[in-house]
Symmetry: D2
Subunit: 402 residues, 4 copies
């Protein structure tokens, strides 16, 4: 085991995903839970020099008041998850790490997200550049104070409205210039991403927001020698689409329509109730089936906020397909998963893989992470199993060199 | 296009699967339907020298009176499938091919299947050897009368009770000797299979019955230079298990229980209502999940005869799994498929691939067909996508040599 | 059996519901089908003097070209329903009755419905009054030509956008005056309804459109001595809500949320894809649960057009409820019904009951028909079983008087 | 509020149902939960002189070691129910009431139940009569020690195998004589029931076991002036059958088949895994649909033990029905309920209603409780709403008399 100390910087710290990942780190370090649901705990990864849970220190940015402990308690009360003895034992870590969370930047995050913001210290920056500098100061301080070898920055905030990039986002020079001026040059997710890459900190975008998904960001990542990845963690219904659609393709069944109806009631759901923010989400969810089967069946995706469900995201999908001799048949599924509990371990997987990639000298987008994302940057493939094969190939090569 | 003429010999001709495959051949030859649901119609197979639908002549063995046309009509009336104009146009072919169907051998097929037998000419053979000779005479006559280049034999009868093999099944010599004596040396499915291999006709077992799944059959296939394969076509619920279980494995979710409940009302259902015959089916359906995930979650498979459903096999599966930090979650699916319409095109795929294999000089079991079977002979892999990759590799190699 | 001859006038004749009802009448008269799915065929109704199927002549208004036979054929091809022999035997009736269908009035029916209109003879009226007169001329001619004792008018058109009534709709006098002027005094559904009541023809509104649901119409019905009823036939998902919600109430379970997601692909679905028209439908579907349980759980109803489903309306409902000691539980259901086949027999039930009511001298709204409607006029009760008890009480009383 | 003190004697005290009812009493008394899921907390019952939760003292018989607190803890750990703060506050009551639980009688309860018995003090009685006397001594002692005005005895043990009654069960005299002899004159459930009635304690059978469902018991109840009721609490899937089947009947849809598949993993499930015990349960679950619709559709009920589900009983039902013009349609539902949490409050309702009935001087079977039972004694009606109407009529009459 190495003596490395690494930092996990979570943008949107006190949300469900970040808090679950943080609780998970504490519980894993203390041996209170096993590696179930951690992809990087599979035997496949055994020979990689991944960071152990105990090597991690957590910090982050947030625009809502709260805390890891408060979020965990709400989960226990509302979603009926997390053993009380386990969370009691992890409280000291959560408390200590809460102190590392800094007021974040809400600049350009749009009205749906701003409605949630209630931390007065947040969002004082007036220009994008000032915001980036504030973020970088926080990141540097976290690394130095905690004497960390590396820090990975992961965006787990609520979904922003779609953002159209333009000429200003074509190169680092143009963007650097544009950031001097007030105005919506970058949404909040882009400001955090830019700040991280510019500092040489690996960055992962677990949301459908902009993050690093524009040319200037990729070019900056290559210049600074830093790996990055995204976007939009593939946790439930979309994962199933990328698992099932290949079957329909390989059996040469014609998908006529694929309807997906998602209901859930956590904070992300409130934000997604805003049509602008929902549009970002639906966009990444809609494309996968067509991309896999090579034609466009009718697809419908709806996402609705149902308060009583809390974090239990329930999806009903109805797949109508034509088989031999014109016979139409049906498959339906329901998925009842606790959204943050599905996402949390993937955040830890991505953190471990991004930190490893940096140590291995990789730079730019990490295509081997495609299987983690609804809309993988730098990869056209949506078939989950082909994506996983890309990860396997990477691991074999990395293990061999190791 | 070649001038080859090939024969498709269906054991259980007038059942739903055989009749659907036969109707499909007629409709495809006449350009009345497209290749939907035919795996071998995928672009992947474009460069293989596969037999066109119009190259096929159909014949077979049967122990029930009836006909392709009668079965097709029943499907229209009871299961509400098959366009009337299409079936009317195909009637001449069905009528002509019905004349090729010979009374079969019910020897050792067990009481549940015998209850269905009503063709007085069937089953006169008194020893296994006599039965094999009768079968071979019919096969030879079919080939000669129709001037066929090749004939593939496919078992699509109802499921027999489990059959335990022993020392007599260890080698061709031992089995040949044993076949002289009265007694249950081989169940009906084994007699047909033995007859086919011995004649040098490729053989496919689309059922969970014995077929060629014993050492002497493999050895005979190699001696006679003939390819064979099976067993138990993977059409619906089990296909989904082999598609979904890999996802659970790759995401490191712990499957706690997987319950599958199947209901359907066709003739196979009547046979499967017999506990002995059901045992064969459940056995092949139960093993796949454990084999893929590498541990034994609780699994339950039930199959029940519900007359009103006719051929519409409906499956409900409930998958209970543990995710991160001990949280239990659920996935459920229902599958509503017309069983014979799912199976029929696979029979055609298997026929085309077996005939090709014979022309390519392959002998013995065909492992590249694993993705078609619940219990693939000669292959341990149950992950559908890894099985399909085996087929892809075969096709690429065969195309290259082509 | 009486010698009465009665007319069934269907507004929206060539739609799925009207064509199914018409085919059903023909098939029932000829003894080709049984009374399954006809409420009035239950033993309960045996002593009522209801009109036999053979007493009916069908006519109607339509704004789309087409015919009963064309619609029936489309159902066979697309939705896989209706036995060919049955429909062939009924063709003469359908053909004869098609000749009774007159071009209708599209005045004020809104853009979504007008997009479907393609019968050039339709909609020449320039004022509401002219439209009413045209409708009445058609109705009178139908009755006289066919020497009918009575004619019942039933609205089975696609759903109009919501229509707000005002002072003009408060009394027959005010409305009669307003109808003289051009302008949207009444939507098409109101014009037909007004024309029917004014002529003394019983009227049923099987849709959520305005129909007779305004004070002046009720007053006119009483003046003219004619019964009427509506609105919005309760065929599937909403029926289930009014069946299940009482159980939750009687077991004192707290419904937290009730989400209903409906998908279907028939012509009504195209119209409902227009947000204005969908609003009418959702309105009647949303209220029932709250009305039954006496508080407002979160409810969501969505309706989406999925072309491949044709007439097979599929609904998924997710009901989340709190039981003892705060434990949250779930019920889900899927309903797969052929929409027109569910509605068609109810149209016949309503026709028979309205004609009987007229003969019994009833006038004004018929509250005993509440169990047939999503939004029963004149009745607050939504509990299906209490509604059915109202019908039972009526039947007992009507049978007794005999 | 009265000063009455009443006893609730639970046979099978430490099982899930009894422990939930007991926890519920404590929580209701302390105002820690509301009346959700208590039928008797509906406004309908407001004028009845029912016993308040705080009037109850709990005791019971048990053959397994354990305790209310232990069972509650297991629920929290395994089924993720019951708020920790609530259960902590109720612990003193549970502890106190545990002391009232006496070792019970396992005589004649069959091997599946005996396998669970581990309390050495249980089951020493050698003849049925000795067992009855032991039970009565315990009941008398409970009543006297706690100075109770009344005690109601409720059977919530696991399901016994079916028991055939004969001539000995025809009258109290014959049975009294038979009880003197060793041998299976009565199963355990009958011994408890006999003991209770003979002492003049009202008795409720919440299980499908024999209880008081034989003529001699009814006669004894009338002689002793004591009310009794049962059998088999209607909590989930069967409740839904009795809610939905009336809809199919009233809409004149023909049910073709009704398949119900139940999976769950609590202790009752272990017992029901024994085919003999399962037969009792399936028998009461199967009859209800036929009884309501008046003909026999194909029905299948399966119950399977799936350990991971613990108390979360999940049912999938598939209802296939024929509508107008022969069209077959489908309804499916899944029910995910916590079994003991569904049953617990009904136990309290039944206790309150039985105690009231005794005070009102009722004797013999209580038909007004039919809506609580799968197989209501003394009532043929299975339609839930008609059963509920019987309860409403009773309450109105009882309220009027005051």
């Amino acid at each position: 085991m190495s003596n490395r100390r690494v930092g996990l910087w979570l943008i949107g710290s006190f949300g469900g995903v970040a808090s679950t990942a943080t609780l998970g780190l504490a519980a894993l370090s203390r041996g209170l839970t096993d590696g179930t649901s951690l992809v990087t705990a599979l035997p496949l990864f055994a020979d990689l020099d991944l960071d152990e849970p105990s090597a991690f220190i957590v910090g982050g940015h947030e625009i809502r008041r709260g805390g890891f402990r408060k979020t965990v308690r709400e989960f226990q009360e509302r979603a009926n998850v997390f053993d009380r003895d386990l969370t009691a034992a992890c409280e000291p870590d959560l408390e200590k790490w809460e102190a590392n969370v800094r007021p974040g930047v809400a600049l350009n995050s749009g009205p749906a997200i701003l409605r949630l913001a209630d931390w007065p210290e947040a969002s004082k920056a007036e220009t994008p550049r000032a915001a980036v500098e504030q973020i970088q100061a926080d990141l540097r301080s976290f690394k130095e104070t905690n004497r960390l070898d590396q820090v990975v920055v992961i965006n787990v905030t609520s979904t922003e409205a779609p953002f159209e990039t333009g000429d200003a986002h074509a190169s680092p020079d143009k963007l650097t210039a544009a950031l001097e001026h007030k105005g919506p040059t970058l949404p909040a997710s882009g400001l955090y991403a830019w700040a991280a890459l510019d500092l040489g900190f690996p960055y992962i975008n677990f949301t459908p927001s902009l993050g690093t998904s524009f040319p200037a960001a990729e070019e900056l990542a290559v210049q600074r020698g830093v790996p990055h990845g995204g976007k939009d963690g593939k946790t439930g219904e979309t994962l199933l689409k990328t698992v099932l659609a290949p079957m329909f393709a390989m059996r040469n069944w014609r998908i006529l329509s694929w309807v997906g109806h998602n209901i859930f009631g956590n904070r992300d759901g409130i934000v997604l109730d805003d049509p602008a923010n929902k549009a970002s989400k639906v966009r990444t969810k809609e494309q996968v089936v067509s991309s896999i089967v090579g034609y466009k069946p009718q697809t419908l995706v709806s996402i609705e906020y149902v308060e009583s469900l809390d974090d239990w995201k329930t999806a009903w999908d109805h797949i109508h397909f034509r088989g031999f001799l014109g016979v139409k048949m049906m498959m339906q599924f329901t998925w009842q998963g606790c959204d943050s509990v599905l996402a949390g371990p993937l955040v830890l997987d991505l953190a471990r893989l991004a930190l490893l990639a940096q140590r291995r000298g990789e730079r730019g987008v990490m295509p081997h992470l495609a299987c983690f994302f609804k809309n993988p940057m730098g990869v056209e493939e949506h078939d989950f199993f082909k994506q996983f094969a890309m990860l396997e190939a990477y691991v074999r090569q990395a293990s061999a060199r190791g």
